[in-house]
């Protein structure tokens, strides 16, 4: 008798899983291409670089198509729960997955010119070129699952998947700095995961369920005294704050940004951060429901404090950074604070604002890192003070860099301004309905920090245009000079890529509603 019931349940579960698979095409595509890349790398050995690059690009395009198909299925169904209530398929998840896919494409394109792990003149047979793409796919799969998880254990597993891939990718420069950064990242990340897992186990102990949307979760938790519950929730939040590098969980970021290969850094500044923000958006709903039961849980207050510290520390620490990549690390910390503002606003418009900001941030950061790499590739410099006079040597590069920096600051006429305007409007609306002092402080501090950020963002165009180039004694012998000059010109593909990244920043300032309509269409 018992056995038949068991088989019934098993059958149900199995059919649930097989039914779910139809909804998970994009993830299936990622897994399929991951395996395919691994195979190609094995078979083609060292000569397969071209195939690996084109295959991974094709993979992302197929992924985007699958996302479109997933969206079409979604628009006919009520946001289904998948794989035994592990995942929730909704518009927000699809939007973030689209962003991840674009980030993947840009990472691969950046990587074509500056092949990770291979220095100029070094033979290509040396290092694991193929593994790079395989791990990239693994990272994106982890991020995709992360933004869909509604089960705490599933969330933990997907975060681990993303994290482990990140630790490996950090090391891909294969030098001392890179290894040091990788170890640091691993140790901090391990600690953060441990804390998060402990928090999850406490929540499970309190409520007996791991499902975020389970009807038992909130009544179960509201029985627990706040003094025990709040630390448990904070532990979980700590894991997510670590991923988005919010202060005080940010210490890994500058070292990793400095040590890791540039395409990887650009990827890190987008994918784990936005995945963390996506999860936090989901958690905001959970916290808000919990707050109805427990008035003492003022999650918006705590999150606002974190956001304020993040913005202030990020911006002020960036002021004195001599290295462009380290400066971008602190800038990305500050931007985490701005993204958090949208989460704190906790309105529909706030969610749209975060998505808008996310899309713009993708463009801005990839453009910035592309140009930092373009410069360091040609001059060997990553220090801002070495950018002297480069704006006059490469006017096009200088102007594009200026646009990106203005956009990162959040000044018109760039989409960075529009994104900040949306985020702060959302915050104002929430302030209007809650009337809490902490929100207005967040609003003021956030906006005033824009002035601080102007100072360090403008330092780059400042050195490029205002400072004269010092006469560098070229060490190359006469014969090599011709080669050197050819090497200093900018390739056409680099021009196209930087235009593709920068032009939308200007277009979306004037036509912000295009992107906003798209977001609303996806999210309905």
């Amino acid at each position: 008798m018992q056995q038949t019931i068991d088989t019934e349940i098993l059958k149900q579960k199995l059919s649930g899983i097989t039914d779910s698979l139809g909804y998970l095409m994009p993830e299936a595509v990622l897994v399929a291409f991951l395996l395919l890349l691994l195979l190609v790398d094995l078979i083609a050995k060292r000569k397969g670089t071209f195939w690996l690059i084109s295959l991974s690009l094709v993979g992302f395009i197929v992924h985007l198509l699958a996302l479109y198909q997933q969206w079409e299925i979604l628009s006919q169904n009520q946001e289904p729960l998948l794989l035994m209530d592990m995942l929730r398929l909704d518009g927000m998840g699809i939007f973030f997955k689209g962003i991840f896919s674009l980030a993947g494409i840009f990472t691969v394109l950046l990587n074509i010119h500056y092949r990770t792990g291979i220095e100029e003149g070094e033979s290509e047979t040396l290092r694991g070129v193929g593994e790079f793409y395989v791990i990239l796919y693994g990272l994106l799969l982890g991020a995709s699952l992360m933004v869909m998880s509604v089960n705490l254990l599933m969330l933990y597993l997907s975060i681990e998947m993303l994290s482990i891939c990140s630790y490996i990718l950090t090391n891909f420069n294969f030098d001392k700095k890179s290894a040091e950064a990788g170890i640091k990242y691993l140790l901090f990340g391990g600690l953060a995961s441990g804390l998060m897992l402990y928090g999850i186990s406490l929540i499970y102990g309190f409520s007996g369920t791991l499902l975020l949307e389970s009807p038992e979760l909130i009544p179960g938790l509201s029985q627990i005294p706040a003094i025990a519950l709040i630390p448990a929730l904070l532990l979980i939040a700590a894991g997510l704050f670590f991923k988005i590098s919010a202060v005080p969980f940010h210490i890994w970021a500058p070292d990793v940004y400095e040590g890791a290969p540039t395409p990887v850094v650009a990827l890190f500044s987008i994918v784990p951060k936005l995945a963390g923000i996506g999860v936090l958006l989901r958690f905001a709903g959970f916290f808000a429901d919990l707050q109805i039961q427990m008035a003492s849980l003022e999650w918006q207050w705590i999150a606002s404090i974190i956001a304020i510290i993040t913005i202030v520390v990020g911006n002020f620490a960036a002021l004195s950074q001599p290295n462009a990549k380290r400066m971008m690390a602190y800038s990305s910390i500050a931007h985490s604070g701005f993204l958090l503002i949208g989460v704190i606003a906790y309105t529909e418009f706030g969610t749209y604002a975060v998505m808008f900001y996310a899309a713009i941030y993708l463009l801005m950061n990839f453009a910035a890192f592309l140009m930092i790499k373009m410069i360091s590739r040609r001059t060997g410099y990553e220090y801002i003070k070495d950018y002297k006079g480069l704006g006059k040597e490469w006017p096009l590069l200088g102007v594009l860099m200026l646009i990106v920096m203005i956009s990162l600051t959040g000044l018109p006429p760039t989409a960075g301004f529009t994104a900040k305007l949306f985020i702060f409007s959302a915050l104002w609306q929430t302030y209007q309905s809650t009337d809490s002092t902490i929100m207005v402080s967040l609003l003021l501090i956030g906006l005033l920090n824009t002035v601080v950020s102007l100072f360090y963002y403008l330092k780059i165009p400042y050195y490029m245009f205002f400072k004269q180039k010092e006469k560098v004694v070229e060490k190359q012998s006469f014969g090599q000079k011709g080669e050197m000059n050819a090497y200093r010109t900018i390739k056409a593909t680099e021009k196209v890529l930087s235009f593709v990244l920068v032009a939308p920043l200007l277009i979306l300032f004037f036509k912000a509603d295009w992107l906003m309509e798209l977001i609303k269409l996806i999210h309905f």
Partner: protein
């Protein structure tokens, strides 16, 4: 502007450029805060009527229909997704377009740290534009920017950019939050007064000709603030006249400084003396510019300052906003202006001929054709607008009367609603 100063400026150009940019951005942030608040609170009645399907097209929206939309808004009948928010300043001036319950709505009585949010918003706009004006505690970027900027950029800075401050105040802060204009009139007047006296005192102490002109600009901007604060027809007209006339006069003054700098690359007042003997025509134009700037009758500066003083004195009887001692003290600004200009004239242009380095004597030729073309039309305009003030006054009279009436009455009404 940042790049214009930073790339073609003087020796400390980088410092001046970044200081200028940081200051004005800080001001812009304050303005942005107010704009965000307004955007969240204000609807466009025409577009909202369209989204509600009350009218087929924008042209068919009548004033009655707008009234109906505002009525529906006040009663909370419009669903939130049907509201069309707007950045239109015209919509913002009408209190009926504010969504009830929003922080900036007149009736919401929302306060922040004990003060109405509407007054905070007025202050944010005021401070934002005061940086650009610049009003006194926020003025320190101006002398640096002027001294380091090349001559044409100085002219653009003084002639155009400084006017954005006062224009912005009139257009946004005063029009959208008239109660703030009434409530803070005393303080605005006081800061105007401080600017007049402080700017004048500083100008008196400057050794660099361009710095002197920059501080005289600060002093003149004080007159604009004083006129705005008075909220009388004369005062506001005077402020607008001052904006225009300062544009002409200070452009001329900076060109004059440029003429000297072109020849010797030195602007120190003490390094010159008795230039009349070498450059008589130049001195003639300098005398016109200096006298116009110190407010001698017959030049446009005089008309502007007279109107400002008339307004400021009348304010005590018309709307009791400014006490009489403010304009009385401000007249000392005129004396200071006369002092520093006449003293400079005496030191640099009259007396025995002297230049610091003998090699300069060959370079100090009188004006060339290009410089005449720049300076003479300005001089003519300065005199013309000083003799025929109706050229401008007639144009702005009706607008200013309406504006003053609107700000005074609406401001008082709003204050009564807010503090009842």
């Amino acid at each position: 502007m940042y790049f214009l100063i930073g790339m073609w400026g003087g020796p400390r150009r980088e410092y001046a450029a970044i200081k200028f940019f940081l200051y004005t951005l800080l001001g812009s942030i304050f303005i942005l805060i107010a704009i965000i608040g307004l955007y969240v609170s204000v609807i466009d009645p025409v577009e909202t009527a369209l989204s509600l399907g009350l009218a087929p097209s924008g042209k068919a929206v009548t004033p009655q229909l707008i009234g109906q939309v505002q009525q529906m808004l006040a009663e909370g009948q419009i669903a939130s997704e049907k509201l069309v928010r707007t950045f239109s300043m015209v919509a913002m001036t009408d209190a009926g377009n504010f969504i009830p319950g929003t922080l900036l709505s007149l009736l919401s009585q929302a306060t922040l740290l004990g003060m109405s949010v509407r007054l905070w918003a007025f202050l944010a706009l005021l401070i934002g534009f005061a940086v650009k004006l610049p009003a006194v505690p926020l003025h320190t970027w101006l002398p640096d920017a002027h001294v380091e900027a090349p001559t044409p950029i100085s002219v653009v800075l003084a002639g155009i950019l400084l006017k954005i401050g006062a224009y912005g105040m009139l257009r946004t802060a005063y029009s959208i939050f008239p109660e703030g204009a009434v409530y803070y009139a005393w303080w605005i007047g006081l800061f105007g007064l401080i600017a007049i006296i402080y700017g004048g005192m500083n100008a008196l102490a400057m050794k660099d000709l361009k710095k002197l002109i920059a501080y005289s600009s600060v002093s003149h901007m004080g007159f604009i603030l004083l006129g705005l604060a008075s909220l009388t027809v004369e005062g506001i007209s005077g402020s607008i006249y001052q904006m225009f006339s300062h544009g002409l006069i200070s452009s001329m003054l900076f060109l004059i400084a440029g003429v000297l700098y072109d020849r010797t690359h030195d602007r120190m007042i003490a390094h010159y003396g008795g230039l009349t003997t070498r450059m008589p025509y130049f001195t003639g134009l300098v005398v016109i510019a200096f006298f116009a700037s110190l407010g001698l009758p017959g030049f446009s500066g005089f008309i502007a300052e007279v109107l400002v003083f008339l307004g400021a004195f009348n304010s005590a009887t018309l709307n009791q906003l400014l006490p009489r001692w403010m304009p009385i003290l401000a007249t000392f600004g005129l004396i200071l202006g006369a002092a520093y200009y006449l003293w400079t004239l005496q030191r640099m242009f009259f007396g025995t001929y002297y230049v610091r380095e003998t090699s300069w004597t060959a370079k100090l030729k009188d004006l060339n054709v290009r410089e005449y073309i720049m300076l003479v039309p300005l001089a003519i305009a300065v005199v013309a607008f000083g003799v025929f003030p109706q050229l401008l006054i007639d144009m702005m009279d009706a607008t200013v009367s309406n504006f003053v009436y609107y700000v005074n009455t609406t401001g008082q009404e709003n204050l009564q609603i807010m503090f009842k």
